[in-house]
């Protein structure tokens, strides 16, 4: 059992920090903790996440309070008291366990963070080298003793490095899944179902209308459109971390071997994936490409669809790879001509099946369409509660 995370569970919020990154010493990649820790201040007991949050508590409060004694939402996010750390906190804290590198989970300014090596590296790429104080890497499956709890990370299948946080405390086990999905993704390890008592889940697509299509069919749609419109640049909006690289990998799986052109904002993440041995093939920069890229695939952030940047292309055909493309109104609203339903989140059947698979008697829903999921779990006699954590709006996925 490893034990290098700070030994005593210092409590809570660091006061008055605006969240700037640069004030903290930069620890080397995956390095251990230094001997001396930053000074912590200890605030009073923080209130619940939001006034009125208690009314969201679902069915059997009696058993819920059971977990509440050691894991609960506070104003920064989920806090594990006997372990002395937050999970994916929305504000700077002294010690944070980070499930994955997306911006609504991995924020800058924490004194010390624990995450997979990939998540640490992706955070540094996205937010800058000094975006957290000390970083400690924990591999999937390795167990760490933290205060009175033991903790390990399990693959979440969401993006490269994404992890579920498995916490054992006095015979109870909680799994905080972060964001996750269940289908095969050539760019990251598959989700590992972990039996537990309390399962903390997302519900981004927590409505029965969200059932994602098989990926290969969506990629085939893109390839068919290229054949139908060989004179048009296919500009596909993708979330820069995860979706971008997954779409490229899926294209390669289906034998597409032409270059996939990248918007500058997608460069560093994609190069990191490639450096980790994920075969993405040729990904030249749009800026270096000659001509108008007729008949080619260009990936860009969704915000660059129909923007001035795209005027350089040949009659650009706007695509968007996202679970939200299931809904026609959203497709129209974004002026998308080629919707690709490719999601890095669990869809409705996967949420339900995953919860069942964990065997958890209690489920907390962090963000998304929690009402429907809480309703559905109630019918299945699972105690469910919406946490409504702040800072996690509709995932930009």
């Amino acid at each position: 059992m490893m034990q290098s995370w700070p030994a005593h569970p210092e409590r809570g919020q660091r006061q008055g920090d605006p969240g700037s990154c640069t004030a903290y010493p930069v620890s080397s990649f995956a390095g251990g903790f230094p001997e001396r820790l930053p000074a912590f201040s200890v605030p009073a007991t923080p209130p619940l996440a939001k006034p009125g949050a208690a009314s969201d508590i679902g069915h059997a409060m009696a058993s819920s309070s059971n977990f509440q004694s050691w894991l609960r939402p506070d104003q920064s996010g989920l806090y594990c008291e006997p372990g002395g750390f937050h999970i994916d906190p929305s504000r700077p804290v002294s010690r944070a366990v980070i499930t994955h590198g997306h911006s609504d989970h991995a924020r800058p300014g924490h004194d010390a963070i624990l995450a997979t090596a990939d998540t640490l590296a992706l955070m540094r790429l996205r937010l800058g080298a000094g975006c957290f104080g000390q970083g400690q890497a924990l591999a999937y499956g390795e167990t760490l003793r933290l205060g009175e709890v033991s903790l390990r990370l399990a693959p979440a299948g969401h993006i490269l490095g994404s992890a579920q946080v498995v916490i054992d405390y006095r015979g109870q086990r909680a799994v905080i899944s972060g964001d996750y999905k269940r289908r095969a993704d050539p760019t990251c390890e598959a989700f590992e179902p972990v039996p537990c008592d309390l399962f903390v889940t997302e519900a981004t697509f927590g409505l029965p209308v969200y059932r994602h299509e098989p990926d290969h069919g969506e990629v085939a749609k893109l390839l068919a459109s290229l054949a139908d419109f060989p004179g048009r640049t296919h500009q596909i909006g993708v979330y820069g971390l995860g979706k971008c690289q997954r779409l490229i990998a899926l294209l390669r799986q289906q034998g597409y071997d032409r270059p996939v052109y990248l918007h500058g904002a997608l460069r560093s993440m994609s190069d990191y994936y490639a450096g980790r041995g994920i075969a993405l093939g040729d990904m030249p920069a749009v800026a270096d490409a000659p001509g108008k890229l007729a008949g080619e695939i260009v990936l860009s952030p969704p915000s660059a669809l129909g923007d001035r940047w795209s005027r350089r292309f040949a009659e650009p055909l706007n695509g968007f790879a996202s679970g939200w493309m299931r809904i026609r109104g959203r497709v129209r609203q974004r002026g998308v001509e080629l919707p690709l339903i490719i999601s890095d989140h669990a869809d409705w059947p996967e949420l339900i099946a995953t919860i069942a698979e964990t065997g958890a008697g209690e489920v907390w829903v962090t963000h998304g369409r929690e009402d429907a999921l809480v309703h559905e779990l109630g019918k299945r006699s699972i105690t469910a509660r919406a946490l409504r954590l702040v800072g996690r709006e509709d995932d930009a996925e």
Binding site: L207, P208, V209, Y210, R211, E213, D228, F229, G306, D307, R308, S310, R311, E315, P316, N318, R326, I327, R328, G329, V331, Q333, G335, V336, E337, L338, P339, R369, D371, A372, H375, E376, K379
Partner: protein
């Protein structure tokens, strides 16, 4: 069903006409008979399946899904049919999906009591896109941005035929159009022009440009007033009469009094107007009669329909389209002398000694409350479409007003990255506290360069965003040209502009000096 579902699905997302044509062309080339015929019917004239979709869905929904989950989902999706398609449990057993022709055939033989079980069975066998397409198909007319004309154009393109040849036989055909496809694929002769009257594609006019005017020889042209109604084609044969809009839609049901003439055998081109006591009524009166499923006697008495004829394409079975305008006009006048139905008259021929006289008449049009002039080359045959150099419309000079740019929205297609749709306002309110009230929208009239300049201005002066719309700091004056201003209860300003376009961008003019709403209201007429 799968090919049809994919077609509908992609049509909804494809904004460009060329893209829609390509998708439909591929479908009509590859889909089997008779499914493609039913698809063509759905995309063109609509299918009368007589399936009470809403009622049947309401009946089976409760049993198939949790009402609370449906309610939450409906709120997220925003469309009931789409919500049903997505929430429906089951993913579709491959191979079991019904063909369009099965659906049409089964429904024709089904009793109302069978409807719920049929729909349930079909929904169970389809995937999400298939379920959505099925619900659109059963609804009768899937709104996927395709006109009847465009669907026929795609069929023509798919087999290298001319759309005019298809239009001529169209109204004699019935879904699933086996005869049409047999002919197009060379298995059979062209279907005969039917006994039922058919639509002949119209000849359309170009706006008169300066260089047209300079070259114009007065003796070469016949001149008529341009009437402020809608262009129609009255086609009567064998006791049957149809009244077609300029796109070939049969609008006769809205104007039954025009469709009952005895003994008329002709295809005539003219203007549909409302005429009371010998006076042509404003366009608003005609709008009272358009798009009505049923028409009451009172409505017909209040707004009597009238046909002002200006051309004849066919009389007594003889095709006149190859003749010159002058010859056709003579035939029309002779026919009208002998057969004149009560609700018709002839569009007056105007004669001018010279171009100066013609110009003077044009200058009088606004004062005379007339839309403008039509100039038709006397030697031209009747040519379908908009051939160059034959017919010109010379609209009365536009009115203009200086308005302030308030909101902008991105365009579509080539303009997708430009803010090209503009909402502008005029000043209202008391002297000391003036406010800008939106008075209209325009998306034309500017050059590509001006568009780029406007786009830059909008991005630099955005004060707020509402989804795709940007609110702009009210400081740019647009000189807006329009044909007329009408009172409107639907608009907050109380007025509606007809045919507004951007005439000039007044970079020089301060916003405070833009026009007031009262000034625009004074132009109503």
């Amino acid at each position: 069903m799968k090919a049809f579902a994919d077609l509908l699905d992609r049509l909804t997302y494809t904004p460009a006409r060329t893209g829609k044509l390509m998708l439909m062309r591929n479908y009509f080339r590859t889909a089997p008979d008779p499914c493609r015929g039913h698809a063509l019917a759905a995309l063109s004239d609509g299918l009368a399946l007589g399936f009470p979709l809403r009622r049947v869905l309401a009946g089976i929904g409760e049993r198939r899904f949790d009402p609370e989950l449906f309610r939450l989902s409906r709120a997220d999706v925003g469309d009931t049919a789409e919500t049903v398609a997505l929430i429906w449990p089951g993913t579709g057993a491959p191979g079991a999906a019904p063909a369009l022709s099965d659906i049409v055939g089964t429904l024709a033989a089904a009793a109302p009591a069978d409807h719920p079980a049929l729909l349930t069975g079909w929904l169970d066998s389809l995937d999400a896109t298939g379920r959505w397409a099925l619900l659109k198909f059963l609804g009768g007319a899937p709104r996927v941005g395709v006109s009847a004309r465009l669907a026929k154009q795609a069929v023509a393109d798919a087999f290298g035929a001319s759309i005019d040849d298809i239009e001529e036989i169209w109204h004699g055909l019935q879904p699933p159009y086996a005869g049409l496809f047999d002919w197009l694929e060379g298995r059979a002769a062209r279907p005969a022009l039917s006994a039922s009257p058919v639509f002949r594609p119209l000849m359309l006019a170009h706006p008169l440009e300066v260089q047209d005017w300079d070259r114009l020889e007065i003796d070469d042209f016949a001149v008529e007033w341009k009437w402020d109604g809608i262009r129609v084609q009255l086609a009567a044969r064998g006791g049957l009469t149809k009244l077609f809009s300029r796109t070939g839609d049969d609008i006769g049901h809205s104007f039954p009094e025009l469709c009952a003439p005895e003994g008329v055998d002709a295809v005539l081109d003219g203007e549909l107007l409302i005429m009371r006591d010998g006076e042509v009524q404003p366009f608003a009166a005609l709008q009272q009669r358009l798009n009505r499923k049923s028409v009451t006697r009172a409505l017909m008495a209040r707004h009597p329909a009238h046909l002002r004829l200006y051309d004849a394409l066919e009389i007594a079975g003889e095709d006149l389209r190859g003749l010159s305008f002058e010859e056709r006009r003579a035939r029309l006048e002779a026919w009208h002398r002998d057969h004149a139905p009560p609700f018709t008259d002839l569009s007056e021929r105007l004669r001018f000694a010279d171009k100066a006289g013609l110009r003077a008449a044009w200058e009088q049009t606004r004062a005379a409350a007339i839309e403008g002039l039509m100039l038709k080359r006397r030697s031209s045959p009747y040519l379908a479409g908009r051939p160059k150099g034959h017919w010109f419309k010379w609209k009365r000079a536009a009115l203009t007003a200086d308005c302030v740019l308030l909101y902008a929205q991105k365009g579509a297609g080539k303009r997708a990255s430009f803010y090209s749709d503009y909402t502008f306002g005029a000043w209202s309110g008391p002297e000391g506290a003036p406010v800008l009230v939106p008075v209209g929208k325009a998306y034309s009239g500017f050059t590509d360069r001006e568009l780029a300049e406007l786009d830059r201005f909008i991005r630099a002066n955005t004060v707020e965003r509402y989804g795709p719309v940007r609110a702009v700091a009210p400081k740019l004056v647009l000189e807006v040209a329009f044909d007329a201003i009408q009172p409107s209860a639907r608009h907050k300003s109380g007025i509606a502009m007809r045919f507004p376009r951007i005439a000039r961008i007044r970079w020089d003019k301060p916003a405070e000096e833009a026009d007031r709403l009262e000034t625009l209201k004074a132009m109503i007429g």
